[in-house]
Symmetry: C2
Subunit: 535 residues, 2 copies
């Protein structure tokens, strides 16, 4: 069953190996362990619903608790320390567009606000209940998950937008197609969630970000429905799909989405290449990109991430061998790892691999074969489980990310890491901060930082450290001209930084458009940007 207070399914654990724990403790000190709040005690905190008996509205404590949060560190600390809330007043689970329409109409009649809930995987507070005096209905879309139509001639599929990654792919693969959208949250995050948060999958280089995959949608908005897109490359006026993309529930609930799909690729492999350092690997990534080698995925871990990931994986003898081998090949003891993917027909995969490896060789890269790539592919969605293991071992973890032009990648990454160290230093705590780029574009790349630090004894300690960390890193991103989010969206946590990117004028434009469909601000208010009536 889904964990109520952590990541994923509660039958699957990814404990931290002893050697890794010893390493973390040597760097960070020993963290607090145990003392998690129980499900019963958390349910006991759920107050009476402000909504009376409405057909299809579940007001049970456990349903409302389970829909009161996502997976941000703030959510996580609240759950583990038993500080959850505010809670939605009811949870609805419509299975179709029409049922969703009815739920929104009932919410509007009750003067309630609506928070759409897809897979509950937001890491930036999209699902946070912000009390402005109105009752709150969480609309869980997970039952609305059917493949509604698959057009194999034009490669377009239409699905219920509550379909989670595995549900999307299983239904398409049965017909020989894939969507190809693989964020790390794939196991739970949903098609509709991907659309409204502008999600990027691990193989977006081949398949496109969700923006490129998104063909059209049907939305249930506050007081009416809205059909958007469905045209092939129109030059007729602004593309309104782009207003749905990134709307984070404020425009309405996406109930059905049409997407571009691709035939299942004949072949796929992932390859690890090591470089002397980050700069060499970064330049090789830029070279592959600018040479237009159509890799399906390209990521580069900096030296600390390469080292830490090998240590946390805990395969000591294999790692010792790898280090010796890279030493013999002249790479030194602080290498940076690149991983690239080759996906397509047999011929395409052969060419991609040959072209990418030729480029990495010229940059001094050492290919260590496809075995590490197979391990990466096998564990590509399991990394999130490590949060549970780290917490149980006494450590907190969070990730923060941006995208910048190639020329600013290193400076931005360095500033983010320094901001993390300095923020925790004010609490006399240390951090392990490391980063990778995992998405490449002609003009730049993503920068994705992971920070591990020591758990404190109580909620106030943990949330205090995290707030300082989040603010310091966000300010470093803004100062370096990066987007406040390359793949996580805005939610509540990034809202204060949105104007730096969009300008006040830009936010005014978005506000004006949203107000047209939602004049009373009932659809996921207070996310994306502050709403004036709670300022």
């Amino acid at each position: 069953m889904r964990r109520w207070n952590g990541w994923g399914d509660d039958t699957f654990d990814k404990p931290v190996p002893d050697s890794a724990r010893a390493f973390l403790e040597s760097r960070l000190g020993r963290g607090e362990v145990g003392s998690d709040a129980s499900l019963d005690s958390a349910c006991a905190q759920v107050p009476e619903s402000r909504l009376g008996a409405i057909a299809g509205f579940d007001t049970s404590a456990e349903a409302r608790l389970r829909h009161a949060h996502g997976q941000s560190f703030a959510d996580w600390a609240a759950l583990r320390h038993g500080h959850v809330g505010p809670f939605p007043d009811a949870v609805a689970t419509p299975a179709t567009h029409d049922e969703t329409r009815a739920v929104i109409d009932a919410a509007r009649a009750a003067e309630a606000v609506v928070i759409p809930y897809g897979g509950g995987t937001s890491v930036v507070g999209h699902l946070k209940v912000i009390d402005d005096g109105r009752p709150v209905v969480s609309v869980d879309t997970s039952r609305n998950a059917r493949l509604l139509d698959l057009d194999t001639h034009n490669h377009i599929a239409r699905l219920g937008a509550g379909a989670a990654g595995p549900v999307v792919e299983a239904q398409l693969r049965a017909h020989g197609f894939v969507l190809g959208h693989y964020p790390q949250s794939f196991d739970y995050s949903t098609l509709g969630g991907w659309v409204v948060t502008r999600s990027a999958g691990q193989q977006s280089r081949r398949y496109g970000r969700i923006e490129q995959l998104f063909h059209g949608a049907r939305l249930a908005c506050a007081a009416r429905d809205f059909e958007v897109g469905g045209q092939i490359a129109s030059s007729a006026g602004p593309d309104l799909r782009e207003l749905v993309l990134g709307s984070e529930g404020r425009l309405g609930i996406v109930t059905e989405a049409a997407v571009h799909v691709t035939r299942v690729a004949e072949r796929e492999s992932f390859h690890a290449v090591f470089f002397a350092d980050w700069n060499a690997a970064l330049e090789a990534a830029r070279a592959i990109t600018h040479a237009e080698v159509p890799v399906s995925m390209l990521r580069v871990s900096n030296e600390v991430e390469t080292d830490t990931q090998l240590r946390i994986a805990g395969h000591e003898s294999a790692i010792a061998w790898l280090r010796r081998y890279l030493g013999v090949r002249g790479l030194g003891d602080r290498p940076a790892m690149m991983m690239f993917g080759a996906t397509g027909s047999r011929k395409q995969v052969y060419r991609i691999k040959a072209d990418a490896l030729a480029t990495t060789r010229r940059a001094g890269g050492v290919h260590v074969g496809a075995a590490m790539g197979r391990i990466w592919a096998k564990n590509r969605f399991a990394g999130a489980y490590l949060r549970n293991g780290l917490w149980d071992a006494g450590f907190a973890v969070d990730t923060m990310e941006t995208a910048v032009p190639w020329s600013r990648a290193t400076a931005t990454m360095t500033a983010m890491q320094q901001a993390a160290h300095i923020a925790l230093d004010t609490f006399d705590e240390r951090a392990i901060a490391f980063a990778h780029l995992s998405h490449v574009y002609d003009a730049g790349c993503s920068v994705y930082m992971t920070v591990i630090w020591r758990r404190g004894a109580d909620y106030a300690t943990d949330i205090g450290r995290w707030r300082a960390l989040k603010q310091a890193v966000s300010e470093a991103i803004v100062a370096h001209g990066g987007t406040i989010s390359h793949q996580h969206g805005v939610g509540a946590d990034h809202a204060p930084y949105l104007a730096a990117e969009k300008s006040e004028t830009g936010i005014a434009l978005i506000r004006a458009a949203l107000a047209e469909l939602d004049p009373h601000g009932m659809m996921n208010p207070h996310k994306l940007f502050k709403d004036s009536h709670v300022d």
Copy 2:
């Protein structure tokens, strides 16, 4: 010098060969010739300006005449028959953002409306002056054309948005880069015009449509400036660049635009392949697209277009040879021609050519070598000059276009051609209607129809035939679910059909956003959709 009443430079002519004229007359009858209005007589129709002496505002008759129209058939008929007008009251030619800001401020102070004028190449009435009682200032952007910055590390260029195609490319090529945006209007159309009309270049398959090339912009809006974009792949909220793209001057004037650029390709070639018929060629185009062969360009002419283009080119002996050769190869006498482009490194071009030809061979295609491709590439922007030649020979020509899923391409094309024939038949006139697809996408392709019919003796006759034709074809496009424009935009002529695509709700969203920056509707009003105060 630029022709005042037709396409292009008046030192360049593309007359219709005698054999072609005989062919057209045999099909359509002999058209009217001569009797064009003179520049002097047209200037004499320009009334006194409603704007007094304002610094930088040119109120001369010729400047106002030259900025009163684009290149739609309606514009063309008006110019040739001496029915031009209404006219802008003044023309301003600001060379920078700040000068544009000052022009707009002066227009606002004079309670005038502003029509941005890039290269004057609109074929759907973007530049039409629609009199609502307010004075009109045409803002000619062509002096604002400098390369402002070229970032060779991140492949981003920033230019004055009034730069026409050759000005963009010349400045970039001096540094080894290209934008790669080649609409047929390339010689005159501008970067800013491409952005606000969502232009598609002939090699958009390689370089992307302008939507993909557009990185960010600075706009001078009615009462304030607006900076948009400039981020690398942001997931933070709706992408406001997509509101600028397609805004057709209503959001403001794009004064500076940043675009993604590419190193000049090492090689490029274009290849003609003939098929037994349109269906075979269409299926081959879809196969190339779905096999992900990265051609830079792909077009397929239907049987009538293939035949007519060969006839109008007038190279009779070469054509006779080609017909014999295709006959020997078993293609019959109504072949359909595909042209594809291979652009990139030597190795890429080799692979693209080999992969595309392997696919076309499987579909029964006959490759006739690169010579026809060279001729196509040489004349790629000269086709527009044929309008002058046809008019002088007594014939009118217009083009109408859409994009649809692959499965609807043939039915849509057929319906558009039929609509053209039926519309002209009501005047007891015949039409030659033919079509091509020139842009391919995973889910579908463009359908671009050319119609040639006989000129009438006067303005009323010509405009009457054209209006019937335009309406019938537009309705056929809408009935088949196509976009009202794949590459020409909306302007005035497509505005009645926009709601079919965007929905009334969608138009309300756009209206609400535009009103935020332009509450008095002074920026190119009455384009894109009707403004209520003139309904």
